[in-house]
Subunit: 345 residues, 2 copies
């Protein structure tokens, strides 16, 4: 899934060039390139579908030269995750009714690729043999109020039965979840057989199911694109979590054994990058920090940035736009972007 | 005088393109253009000499198209004010031994041009008739520790006898000066006859006097430039204040009746510019201030700058360099520039 616009990473991430197509970590590879390589170790390249907005078609093809056009599912309208997941499940089912599929965001950080592979293979096996929907759970390290939480049944099994999902709890609730022990972060990485997910849509999201079931004869043919263009925009703008996972009684969780970060905000990126002795992070430019600590500075490559007496700030400059925002206001960057667009466009 | 590099206005003011050649006030004219226009109302254009470093020759000729090359005194080495003032006095004397001259920095802010003219004319008359050195005094509005102070004899005369100069006093001393009433800021604007200033050099700075007196036969001829190139660098690096004014017993001050600002720092520029309702100043770019007050933001024309939760800061971005420095550290920008140059060049 590579259709988001990463608006909390504005001004680096923009509608024209969103986050997943940037080398946010300064590793030499963009996030989608890193994700594709990670998945290639588990799934043959030609079986990887990229779900993105049609405007990013050329970006995907440039950044993933091994991908051919029929691996792209190009969304003609911006929708949440449920429609594109159902559509891809139906396309895969038409190729192989017994298929098991992995759904993964293109813009997350996962360092331990071996552990990731092992986890996914366990989930694949479980979903091949059982009519279940699986999600990967991340052991929470602090009461993050920006994530979704999975409550699971306390039991000794490796694979846990999911009791409930809670999106973005308040701080007090998040603290309580951590202390109770049977809560994990929802990484948004899912495994299921196409049979299980499609029947779940039929049960819990019948409108979406019928909308896309109607196109079955066109999928993987020259007529697919026309069908998508005519129908995709009719799809409800709903996440897979709300549409299916919160309703289905057969959702299970595998606790991930790898470190994970959703790179959802500048602060979460800060956590993952190397810091100088005053805990400042520099991406791209040359920096001079004077009485300044715990900042993250992201600029174009040759830019010189001098900070004096500034602590816990996000400083991002892409040439056209400069933002200077405290780290604890990182969630507001999305709204700030809207305000700036309204005021100056 | 247009030879400074305005290093406290870094990164906008640079060695290659210093402060006086910038439109710092956003008025549509650079500081040297504004100064030239102000002086033109008192002194015929062709009698205005521009003293600057040779590297700024083209900048001066571009920005002041009415100026011809023989109005330029091009310094082959960076020196303080005394050498260039003596040299220009000798050149003027050779044209007119009875001349009275006005010495003025090219990069100050003076709004009331009429009052300025009136003050200068009073000083011209006084210096035509008396063997005195005159400086303009600015009534201090607060105990600024970055300026020089003139102590004058308490008397009812319009023109005051100067008792003493004090450069950059500490805050306590500056406060005492203000309470005593007979102290003014030294604006660095001087009037004297060439006769008086040259004889003062002969008395109080004989080395400088002889160095430049030696070139008398070359001044205003085709050989002048060669003489300056060979000799200017031998001149002591000393200000007119230290070389002459602090030593001479015949220094007088006219209290200026105009508002003045030396535009010596970003903070002094901030004082002179229009503020929004949260007392933020924007020069050049488009700004969005969120919970941010009393800042000055100077960027390229189309840049968008978002500040969140920042108060009393100087934010300057010239495309290559971005600085974010508290206003109360503005005096450090000069040193910061040095540190940055050492670290990254």
């Amino acid at each position: 899934m590579a259709g988001g616009i990463g608006s909390r990473f504005w001004p680096v991430s923009t509608e024209e060039y969103p986050k997943q197509f940037h080398d946010l970590l300064g590793s030499g590879e963009t996030l989608i390139q890193k994700t594709f390589k990670r998945l290639q170790k588990i799934v043959p390249s030609e079986n990887i579908l990229i779900l993105t907005n049609e405007r990013y078609k050329n970006l995907v093809l440039e950044q993933l030269p091994e991908v051919v056009e029929n691996q792209l599912i190009l969304e003609p309208a911006m929708r949440n995750t449920a429609p594109c997941i159902l559509l891809s499940a139906l396309k895969i089912q038409k190729q192989n009714p017994e298929a098991v599929m992995l759904v993964a965001p293109s813009d997350h950080w996962i360092e331990d690729e071996k552990a990731f592979q092992e986890n996914i293979i366990i989930a694949f096996e479980n979903c091949s043999n059982n009519d279940v929907l699986m999600t990967l759970g991340i052991k929470p390290t602090f009461p993050n109020t920006g994530y979704g939480y999975i409550e699971f049944e306390k039991a000794q099994n490796e694979i846990k039965k999911v009791l409930r999902f809670t999106e973005k709890p308040d701080y007090k609730t998040a603290k309580k979840f951590l202390s109770e022990g049977n809560f994990m972060w929802n990484a948004g990485i899912f495994v299921w057989s196409v049979k299980s997910i499609i029947s779940s849509f039929e049960n819990f999201s019948p409108d979406l199911f019928h909308l896309f079931e109607n196109g079955k004869e066109y999928y993987n043919t020259a007529h697919e694109n026309n069908f998508i263009i005519s129908n995709y925009k009719k799809a409800e703008n709903i996440s897979i979590d709300y549409a299916i996972l919160e309703k289905s009684p057969k959702v299970y969780m595998l606790p991930a054994t790898f470190d994970w970060n959703d790179l959802g905000t500048w602060g979460s990126l800060y956590e993952k990058l190397q810091k100088d002795k005053h805990n400042n992070v520099t991406i791209g430019g040359k920096t001079l920090f004077l009485e300044s600590e715990n900042n993250i500075v992201h600029t174009e490559k040759d830019k010189l940035v001098v900070l004096s007496n500034l602590t816990d700030y996000i400083i991002v400059d892409n040439g056209k736009t400069l933002i200077i925002v405290p780290k604890d206001k990182e969630q507001e960057i999305k709204q700030i972007r809207e305000v700036a667009k309204k005021k100056f466009n």
